[in-house]
Symmetry: C2
Subunit: 138 residues, 2 copies
């Protein structure tokens, strides 16, 4: 028995869509995921939530831009507490599409990218499924 295994395991429970959207609204870094011939690619990005869709900003000639042109795309966020062995995660599955500048939300900051580079292309992930789960201390 590992020294850690005397802890009681945490309970898993599903998060409702409203709770998932609340978590998405409260954060600014997540992971975009897409599939290519080699399987799943998962990359961190800055994002904003725009009316229940995910808005990210990428460089026009990047791999992300190439793979997220009218394609299936997923988006994931999570957070953990190693001491309490708890955490939560939200998974958004949907379709990615390029966004015309006229369709960007007015009066709201665009997703601000921490990384350098000309990230002039906006991509929207429109969910068809939002699920989440939360690990709660026993």
């Amino acid at each position: 028995m590992s020294s850690r295994e005397h802890w009681f395991p945490s309970h898993m429970r599903e998060m409702g869509e409203a709770e998932c959207l609340e978590a998405l609204a409260a954060h600014e870094v997540g992971r975009v995921a897409y599939c290519d011939d080699g399987g799943a690619v998962v990359l961190p990005v800055n994002y904003t939530l725009d009316q229940d869709t995910i808005l990210i900003r990428v460089a026009p000639h990047s791999g992300l831009a190439r793979h997220l042109r009218g394609a299936q795309a997923s988006f994931q966020i999570d957070d953990f507490d190693a001491y309490n062995q708890t955490g939560w995660s939200v998974l958004v599955r949907g379709e990615a599409s390029y966004v015309d500048s006229g369709d960007l939300p007015a009066g709201q900051d665009p997703p601000f990218a921490w990384a350098e580079g000309q990230r002039t292309l906006h991509i929207r992930i429109t969910p068809h499924e939002i699920t989440g789960r939360r690990l709660i201390p026993a």
Copy 2:
């Protein structure tokens, strides 16, 4: 201009494989990702690094078990510092396979799952590609 945009953007640099493996060895929670008809699925899991492969433990009748039987699978870890707008991420792409109990590493704790449930099935992700990138303050 957003109030945040006066920060200088961070520099992105590639991480070498040794640096990626060092990061993988130093953590215990990551995300396994696979593809199904709806695109990419990304789910947090506890893991251990076993001789440059990723070892996770799942419930035998779970969706993860069903999708990771001799299939392409990716694994991702990252960490961020929102104040400094820096961070790093590592992406492992490879093949998942079920592990016989005789093939588990001796003298090493199996991956300990925070969540409750009978996670009796071990799955190994054997990388064919390990990449990482780091955002460094300007």
